[in-house]
């Protein structure tokens, strides 16, 4: 009779190494997760609240653009159909060989409550667009209904602000937040004012910063990961966290979202908009946006504001990538300062303590000059960052994002995907893989078999149902996956009964 020992069996997949210490995976605070808009809607909203959101045309348009391509075509085709459309008919619109993609699109539409199942005479089930959604989308496309807020007519601004001004303004506001996070905001005189208690509350809520023992505020691991994101993703993550807290402040979420989308997706850079007719809550929201640099407003009381580039296309990465470069009047000069060489040296033309601090997370800094920092990517420095929970992907994307324009020139010359030297990218990824030599599987250990045949029978059975993790014939020991334990135990009981 064999003893079965239940417990968490550790197993080293690659064998080889003698190092079997459990990594702190899963023990430390969770990594930063960045949701896109669709995920946000799916996870945070109930069908009823979604329905409420669909009363706002800007939200509908934003949701529509987030849908998979096929889903968008389906919606457009039934937008002007007043009766429910039989499901079989909708299915026949897609090609057979893309059935899987079509199923995804269908389930996505259902999950977002854009359409729902109804029965039509004849016992068939049919799809029907949510009436609110349908009405709002039709309104966006063809007109009618009430104008959106903030589009009231304004007289000409006596001192219109140009795009370059808005860009510098927005970036300086946003850097203020980042500087605060790394604790350099108060010391450097350039970004004079510190950030408001409200912003601090959001940072705390988002787990980007935490209170330490001496009641000061320090940056968390997620906070460092946050710093490595590109500005667009930072703003989006930050806004999501803001939306979480907005109900507590007594600001209505649908109104907030609607305004946010109107600002971010459907407004024109360099145009002024009016805050006339907004209620007090929305004015507060506007003041918050102003603080983070998403809008520019000359005075608190002025009924005119400009959206900045920071706000534009914050929701979707792809759109932002092309929209910012495809803009007719090109003005993005904020970009790169980092040069990476094939010898792993990193030259950063910057004097900002924030950028130096971020760079210091994963490089070993060698020299500092007034406008230049030189560092080197070493195995130790990168591993230290990895241990801190930063991924190789994040390091690479940070370096890519802030690559010096000259590096980009090289990119277009050799048509490679990344502007960094391939060796460096590969090595960083290898350093990360180095750490992932172990996979952890929960399992149950079977040992002390009485005979060799018992062992072999049970092992072969476990193998045949693909539940065997590891076995050793000499010591008659085997490890079975935890969810296979019941099966194997049952088999063993049956076997031992019939055997005896």
């Amino acid at each position: 009779m064999a003893d079965t020992k239940s417990g968490s069996g550790r197993h080293s997949a690659a064998g080889g190494s003698g190092n079997t210490v459990l990594s702190p995976l899963g023990q430390g605070p969770a990594n930063l997760e960045c949701k896109d808009f669709q995920e946000y809607l799916r996870t945070r909203q109930t069908p009823e609240s979604l329905e409420k959101l669909y009363n706002y045309p800007p939200i509908c348009l934003a949701v529509f653009r987030e849908l998979p391509e096929i889903a968008r075509q389906f919606i457009i085709r039934i937008l002007f159909v007043d009766q429910p459309v039989p499901q079989a008919v909708v299915t026949s619109w897609g090609a057979q060989r893309c059935a899987k993609e079509q199923a995804e699109a269908t389930s996505c539409l259902t999950a977002l409550n854009v359409w729902r199942v109804t029965a039509i005479p004849g016992g068939l089930s049919a799809w029907e667009l949510s009436p609110t959604f349908k009405k709002s989308v039709r309104q966006v496309l063809l007109g009618g209904g009430k104008p959106w807020p903030m589009t009231n007519t304004l007289d000409k601004d006596s001192k219109p602000r140009d795009i370059a001004f808005l860009d510098t303004y927005a970036m300086s506001r946003w850097r203020c937040v980042l500087h605060y996070m790394v604790g350099t905001g108060n010391r450097s005189g350039t970004d004079a004012e510190a950030i408001s208690p409200d912003a601090v509350r959001i940072l705390l809520h988002a787990n980007l910063m935490k209170r330490d023992e001496r009641d000061g505020i320090t940056i968390t691991r997620q906070g460092f990961q946050f710093l490595l994101l590109d500005t667009r993703a930072q703003v989006w993550h930050f806004m999501l966290q803001y939306l979480d807290t907005c109900e507590e402040r007594g600001i209505s979420l649908p109104e907030c979202l609607s305004m946010l989308f109107q600002l971010t997706q459907f407004s024109t850079l360099g145009r002024d908009y009016s805050s006339e007719g907004m209620n007090n809550q929305m004015l507060t929201f506007l003041q918050h946006l102003r603080e983070f640099g998403l809008v520019f407003q000359r005075k608190r009381k002025e009924g005119r504001f400009y959206p900045t580039r920071l706000a534009l296309n914050v929701t979707s990465k792809e759109a932002a990538a092309t929209a910012s470069v495809a803009m007719d009047e090109e003005a993005t000069q904020d970009c790169g300062y980092i040069v990476v060489e094939t010898n792993y040296r990193v030259y950063a033309y910057t004097d900002s303590p924030l950028q130096v601090a971020v760079l210091g997370l994963f490089t070993e800094l060698l020299y500092r000059f007034p406008n230049l920092v030189v560092g080197v990517l070493t195995r130790d420095s990168v591993r230290q960052a990895l241990r801190g929970g930063i991924t190789a992907e994040q390091i690479v994307s940070y370096l890519e994002q802030y690559a010096h324009p000259n590096m980009r020139m090289v990119e277009s010359a050799i048509h490679s995907k990344s502007c960094l030297p391939p060796t460096v990218v590969d090595q960083i990824k290898l350093w990360e893989l180095e750490r992932n030599r172990f996979t952890y599987t929960e399992g149950v250990l079977y040992n002390q078999f009485l005979s060799h045949t018992d062992f072999v029978t049970l092992r072969d059975y476990a193998q045949s149902i693909h539940m065997l993790v590891w076995q050793n014939e000499r010591t008659r020991t085997m490890v079975v996956q935890k969810n296979g334990h019941d099966d194997v135990k049952r088999y063993w009981k049956k076997y031992s009964k019939s055997g005896v």
Partner: protein
Amino acid sequence: MEADQSASKEAESCIDLLVIVLDTNPSQHFVRQNPQNLTQILEAVIAFGNAHLMQKAQNKLAVVSCSHHATNFLYPLPRRQVELRQMDGQYEAFNLVEKTVKQQLGSILMNAPRLSAPCESLLAGSMSMALCYISRLQRNLAPGVKMHSRILVLTGSNECASQYMTFMNVFFTAQKLGITIDTCALDKTLSLLQQGCDITSGQFLKVTQLDGLLQYLLWVFLPAPQIRHKLVLPPPPKVDYRASCFCHRELIDIGYVCSVCLSVFCKYSPICTTCHTIFKNPGPLPIKGKKKKKTDKQM
């Protein structure tokens, strides 16, 4: 699977440009029947254009009008766009398209010379203008940004065989540049444009009822060519590949072809009118046949 996902991601990030060539010639059949029809078509085209813009934030639209005397851009306008404030629930960019197109077309129709007799539309010319516009945008793209372009022709005109050469040049240029040409014929089947759609693997659709025009447009022409294989669209019709002769501009089945410049003629002439080559052996067809046989024997 991963490759599929990255492909779809790429499709999401690239710019889709749609150029609509709208035939506004007053001698089209449906306009002569009832001038209101043109308004109806215009409404459908604007809604269709906006539906294209609605798909993705980075989609672009251009509308070109084509008449018997000129080709004009209805949208976008070269100078700074007019300041428009939202009047109703329509998204301001869509409103801008609608206002600009209507305003431009109105002023063009008011200033058009009077027609004494029905004339052909300059469709081929308008399409070349659309190609030029596309290629200019393509050239001005920032590095790393991809753009897919297509042209949609909406016309109720008759076959324009006299523009055969221009049409063919347009079709092959489009094919070379990877631009899809779609055609929505509102009156007759147009074999030349049908050829163009076939060459550039676009859709050709003849719509006989103007009432459901928008629904047809949204169904067949809204999906970008890159995703059309995922949807069920009307099967390609049998294409009439007749060429038009250079002497009388008529579509012919069998004709004479200049051995130097490949011009097509319906009647034999001793000198090619295109490249001025003089043909040495002006013999009727049967003699040619005999000669061929002789050479065969010699060999």
